[in-house]
């Protein structure tokens, strides 16, 4: 009898104490983070996570040597020093799984908001869940333009999207013909006029394909081939053959990692000789891609962050050093944007002063983060609703990098666009395979 009494009392005590522990824990702000930690984009997922975690770490402590406002405080000052806690989940690149995990994060883990998801297709479903439940979501790396044209009130995107990036490409092509590119004399228009494009048949890729078509028309280039291929296709020989046949001057791609590598290998085996090859980031800006070494020399990729940005922005270098120390690699477009996404969360919470959804929503719509606070070479972060878009950051910017052999014998990216930020002469034309 006594033993069972003891058990009952112990349980009652626990029942009373645990909620109290819950109160103590309210000095935490939980943010759900959804990235692909397994699956085809696992390598990207790992650095995305690392970027977000680094930003949270800097926010939660006072750090000297980082010229950011959030490094000066420990935690969110306007909320009594509350610390950011990241709850990271793996969506495996599956939109359905992403949506289910988002529901779990919102209802079971009771997160204040969500950051994610890299894959545009997953961001689409997760943001729909957030919109349904009225939970704020900040997106750092998904570039499908469609994500901000849905009129959502609970979705904000910090990264510029593919419409802008594709325009950058055409500005570069135009600049080449006008002699504006560092180290290259004006190229005769006829040489570059024919284009061939191959994009993967997904949410992201199909939008890139549309943008390429639109801009080709606008800038008056001849888009001889514009095909969509099944992503993760193991055999692209017929597609590549179809692209080579009209003898295009420039070949354009939108592919994730494994396809990008396969495309280049197939081009090589067919001894293709375009004058210019461009990739819309993703697979073209990954360590695995760089493993091909000399084979990729001269290939262009859209990027959002390169270590060489540190030469023009001190804070980028500071954060990059820290990142490199922890993870062994430099920041890249993915990790830098994940960092920026989490950073935006921190600044938004700071401005909102509370974890209430409406307060966060108000803060997001009003925030303006100056460019000197960011590691990415943007003018800042300011979300606007303009031209049919809602919640899109209008102060972002893209870069175009070119792979060139560095002094240390390894392959690295040099900035060739915007022209005024160029860090090296552009290699043109490509040597061909």
């Amino acid at each position: 009898m006594r033993k069972s009494m003891f058990v009952v009392v112990a349980l009652l005590a626990a029942a009373l104490i645990l909620p109290a522990a819950g109160f103590a824990a309210s000095k935490e702000i939980k943010i759900g983070v959804l990235y692909p930690l397994t699956g085809g984009a696992a390598a990207a997922g790992r650095v995305l996570r690392a970027g977000a975690e680094l930003a949270a770490e800097i926010a939660n402590q006072k750090m000297a040597g980082i010229d950011m406002d959030m490094a000066k405080n420990a935690g969110i000052k306007s909320m009594g020093g509350a610390k950011i806690v990241l709850i990271v989940k793996d969506h495996q690149g599956n939109p359905q799984m992403g949506a289910d995990l988002a529901k779990k994060l919102i209802q079971d883990d009771k997160v204040v908001g969500i950051l994610g998801c890299y894959h545009s297709s997953v961001t689409k479903t997760v943001s729909a869940v957030c919109e349904r439940y009225g939970v704020p979501m900040i997106n750092g790396s998904s570039t499908s333009p469609a994500l901000t044209t849905r009129g959502f009130k609970w979705f904000w995107r910090t990264t510029p999207h593919d419409k802008w990036f594709t325009k950058d490409l055409f500005e570069l092509l135009k600049g080449l013909t006008e002699g504006k590119v560092k180290g290259v004399k004006a190229v005769p228009r006829a040489e570059l006029n024919k284009l061939a494009a191959a994009c993967e048949k997904t949410e992201w890729g199909s939008h890139v394909s549309e943008e390429i078509k639109n801009f080709a028309g606008q800038y008056k280039f001849d888009l001889a081939v514009n095909l969509l291929y099944a992503a993760k296709s193991p055999d692209l020989s017929s597609e590549v053959q179809g692209m080579i046949a009209p003898k295009p001057g420039a070949m354009l791609f939108a592919s994730y990692a494994s396809d990008a590598i396969l495309m280049v290998k197939t081009l090589k085996s067919m001894k293709a000789k375009p004058k210019l090859i461009w990739g819309q980031d993703a697979g073209f800006d990954k360590p695995e891609f760089r493993e091909m070494g000399k084979d990729i020399e001269g290939i262009l990729t859209r990027s959002v962050f390169l270590p060489s940005v540190a030469r023009v922005k001190k804070v980028s270098g500071q954060v990059n050093e820290l990142f490199k120390k922890k993870n062994g690699v430099d920041l890249d477009g993915a990790s830098a944007r994940a960092f920026t996404g989490l950073q935006t969360w921190v600044y938004v919470l700071e401005k909102a002063g509370s974890a209430a959804p409406k307060a966060i929503q108000k803060a997001c719509n009003a925030i303006k983060i100056p460019g000197d606070q960011l590691v990415v070479p943007w003018a800042g972060v300011k979300f606007e609703s303009v031209g049919g878009e809602t919640g899109q950051n209008v102060l972002g910017m893209g870069l175009i990098g070119q792979y060139q052999m560095q002094k240390d014998g390894k392959i690295g990216l040099e900035i060739v666009y915007p022209f005024n930020l160029a860090t090296a002469n552009m290699i043109y034309p490509l040597k061909g395979f």
Binding site: V225, L227, K265, K271
Partner: protein
């Protein structure tokens, strides 16, 4: 398909370009098709002998691919030389599956066979996922990698694909010799023609079945070893090849080795045909399509072929067994 009339007619939108495209498709199709044929060979042998359809066939291919890929750097030799290892692994796996699973499935209804081999497929595929991860891998170093020959008016032949085609032919010849010229081969044929009669003649059905699985496993694993030189391997690569193998065997005729060879080459050419369509379009004065193109459908045609063949001519081209 958006048509834009008035596209510039440069030199490549001509009849020559079309003929070149056809030639390229035929050559590429032939090489690829020989590999498809070798993949299908294993399936047709097993089917011919015991009427079992192995859904995990593509997974055997995948294991063959991984075997060649991983043992090459381990032994420090060229991937071409580790092909026999793949063959051995395939044979061993085949025998293991037979004694460990298939033997029991044979006793049950057809539904049991179907699901047994499906379970095997899931098992092998996800085991590979756990062990190898999901990132695709491909041969990077080797004497043949990256080299190609240019033949005639601009046809580029990759060294790895050439070797794959040649070795595949060699494997076919080896299989034919084994089945037609050796006693063991005759035992195999006898069992597939009439199991009971063969038993009365003293041919152990069990042994023949196991042999069929060994041969089947070995040939598809070797095909994998050839394939991985130019086709990336990941745990899910099996499904597409299982379907291609089925379509090939259906087209060639279930149980016919000659059929597998011919059908494999035909299907290889179909899969390489899209650029020919593009060239024809360009000849007719339109851009080679925007958005979806015939390239997206190259494997859809393969599935359609299976369906149409099975409905309209189930014995395929050379099949004698239904």
């Amino acid at each position: 398909m958006p048509w834009s009339f008035g596209a510039e007619r440069a030199g490549d939108e001509s009849m020559e370009a079309l003929l070149l495209a056809i030639l390229k498709a035929v050559v590429a199709g032939l090489l690829m098709g020989l590999v498809f044929a070798l993949v299908a060979l294993g399936l047709t042998i097993i089917f011919g002998v015991m009427d079992v359809v192995n859904f995990a066939h593509g997974e055997f291919l995948m294991i063959g691919m991984y075997s060649t890929l991983l043992t090459a750097p381990l032994l420090g030799v060229d991937p071409v030389l580790t092909l026999p290892i793949s063959g051995l692994v395939g044979a061993a796996l085949g025998v293991l599956c037979y004694f460990g699973l298939i033997r029991y499935l044979l006793r049950g209804p057809v539904i049991a066979q179907l699901f047994g081999t499906f379970g095997l497929m899931l098992f092998l595929r996800n085991l590979a996922l756990m062990i190898m991860g999901s990132e695709p891998m491909i041969v990077h170093k080797g004497i043949l990698v990256g080299k190609s020959f240019v033949v005639g008016p601009g046809i580029v032949l990759g060294a790895t694909k050439l070797a794959a085609g040649a070795l595949s032919l060699l494997a076919f010849w080896g299989a034919w010799w084994l089945i037609d010229r050796t006693k063991t081969g005759k035992a195999l044929t006898a069992t597939s023609l009439d199991k009971e009669a063969a038993m009365y003649m003293g041919i152990s059905t069990e042994r023949v079945n196991a042999l069929a699985w060994a041969l089947g496993g070995a040939s598809v694993a070797v095909a994998g070893g050839l394939l991985v030189n130019f086709w990336p391997v990941d745990p899910n690569v099996g499904l597409l090849f299982t379907m291609i193998a089925f379509a090939t065997v259906a087209l060639g005729g279930f149980g016919s080795i000659k059929g597998a060879l011919v059908a494999g080459v035909l299907i290889g050419m179909i899969v390489q045909a899209p650029p020919v369509w593009d060239a024809m379009l360009r000849l007719a004065g339109s851009n080679a399509g925007s958005g979806f193109t015939i390239h997206s459908f190259k494997y859809t045609f393969v599935y359609l072929i299976y369906f149409l063949i099975m409905v309209f001519r189930p014995q395929g081209l050379f099949g004698w067994k239904q």
